[in-house]
Symmetry: C2
Subunit: 414 residues, 2 copies
Amino acid sequence: MNSLTETGKRARAASRVLACTTTGQRNAALTAIAAALEANAAAVLAENEKDLAAAKENGMIASMQDRLRLTPARISDIAEAVRDLVKLPDPVGQLIGGGSRPNGLKIEKVRVPLGVVGMIYEARPNVTVDAACLCLKSANACILRGGKEAIRSNTAFAEIMCGALEGAGLPRDGIQLVTDTSRASAGDLMTLDGYLDALIPRGGKGLIQAVVKGASVPVIETGAGNCHIYVDDSADLEMAVRVCDNAKTSRPSVCNAVETVLVHREIAAAFLPRLKEALDVHHVELRGCARTAALIPGVVPAAEEDYDTEFDDYILALRVVDSLDEAIEHIQRYSTGHSEAILTETYSHAQEFTSRIDAAAVYVNASTRFTDGGEFGFGAEIGISTQKLHARGPMGLNELCSCKYIVTGSGQTR
Amino acid sequence: MNSLTETGKRARAASRVLACTTTGQRNAALTAIAAALEANAAAVLAENEKDLAAAKENGMIASMQDRLRLTPARISDIAEAVRDLVKLPDPVGQLIGGGSRPNGLKIEKVRVPLGVVGMIYEARPNVTVDAACLCLKSANACILRGGKEAIRSNTAFAEIMCGALEGAGLPRDGIQLVTDTSRASAGDLMTLDGYLDALIPRGGKGLIQAVVKGASVPVIETGAGNCHIYVDDSADLEMAVRVCDNAKTSRPSVCNAVETVLVHREIAAAFLPRLKEALDVHHVELRGCARTAALIPGVVPAAEEDYDTEFDDYILALRVVDSLDEAIEHIQRYSTGHSEAILTETYSHAQEFTSRIDAAAVYVNASTRFTDGGEFGFGAEIGISTQKLHARGPMGLNELCSCKYIVTGSGQTR
């Protein structure tokens, strides 16, 4: 029935071996993988060329081709990122709670690997190495299913990593790539009950929703970021222009970029022309409410759906609001719970905003672009969770772990 | 489409109010609920009588009727448990991580409520009060769907609690009972996407599997406990008899009761007759392998499925194994990841068992019956998670929470 059952069984077996490895064994394997990636770069690049040729033939747009493309420098960067993982603390085995009970039982709450982690992702072949090595560092086995566009690059990466794993004395089934890139194989991964402890989709909204709806295994929802900045009437306007500009234009395609700026009516006339001036440099299209349009020229009238859209592009929605309350209500209505910011000098407004807004990251006087494992100091990131179960916000090595209670006694009964 | 959409919207609105309440407000509401339960006990008992009459008419078995039955003493116990919640520390607002970043950003990781928690459960009406009050203590709104057998008792409980909530100045939609107990309403709760942050099923295997398979909202799987005790060749046999007897007979119907005892061949001849003698007192039916049957009389031959069954009854499976390895392999094959124990005096065996066995709770020289929020010192429990995402083992107030990152700056951009 499920084409991946054997893959799942092998992953489970490998996960049991990995769970009992030492930090040193896993770090040695990561080091071996980094070296093997560099030593075999030419082979990967040759396969990547074939992926790119097929992509061109199929009319893939240029920005997608760029995501798919590997170069010697990019492979070095990927290998270097693997070496960076070696330096991070091992999450496995950390004592995260516990104590003695009145009856003498000793309880230790210990961090352990999740077990088997599945990833479904799209065209970026670097995710194959990233995800596999984050899982290896945290002693998880992984089953990776990338997009068909990158299948030759992904296969080359996986073969190199499995060889290095084996050379380091660890089970090669610790990293498995699903080479069948049909829609059916994605469905089989989503329903691999009993063999997957977590499934993490990474990619566009369509992919993530398909996984959330279709999966019977536990899923961590990632990514969708319809992020807002509210510019309060007491905001420092120079700072507000700088922060909004950064949040929109430093990298519009990512999930922590801002999509709507809400502006208090008292400062709208002073602020909006200055914001427009800054954004015009990057040719940002502005879509705004009637009050916005009355204050700055060239604004496209915003439709309801503009406030509900993650543009991921040089487009920004604008709305003038009467109060902090109205800003919070707007955000509560349209937020995907990713990153939300207030720019204000009013202490009580900052307090109210951070208390009432329900999102993974809530900012005061800073750009939403900081929601990121690296920026948060986690050293690495497997994705950004927008759900509230298990992990919220950037997920690092700790979030790839579960816990177990080890209870030791001297014959206690209840 | 979804009959519960309005219920979900009201719960979401209430959850936003609850998330900003103080510990004192929520404790006052809990105290009011406890008082109201006692003051209105007669009304609840009258409704419970109707449930019981209907249950008898429908031929409900005696043990199920007992679960459904309320008495004045039971209602007092329920109210007392609510008062105990008042004394527990508030999980909401606890600072659980964070620090300063090199760019001056200050990051606080704060515990926040999940938001809206759904519960699907069976015939015990006390779960209605338990679950609602655990959610209230942790500032969550809840949507409760109990079994149809208890609908009159549940409705009475819910009306009392909502009245007390309102009297305490909190939104009565913070606690909502689904009064439509059709199969369709359960399905609608499982697919109430966007309005439920977590759905927790409590009940038998059939219920839990139906929820895990059918839900598109995030689920915490609870309960199934096919628990093992392995009696090593170095075990203290007197202790082993006492622990195995306790784990089987102190409360056979619960998930942390032992279902299979694995016995090392070296001590099988000395141990099994003593175990049988202790279990005979409770008329425990023994199902064993051929080697077990050769050592003690009256053993029913164990079929493969006996090792795969959570009997929840006075039945115990037995198997003689050649080694610790064989015991671990048996457990890896049949375990539901709930509670597993080794009884041994060999230090390295204890280490190997706790390292290799992947379960919520792994015991050395103690009964599996301790896997419980109360016994672990959590003060209260909403269920026992057997999955690895979010929570594992007994779930207390902390496990009804998520986190959010509050990031404060002075105009930082990236």
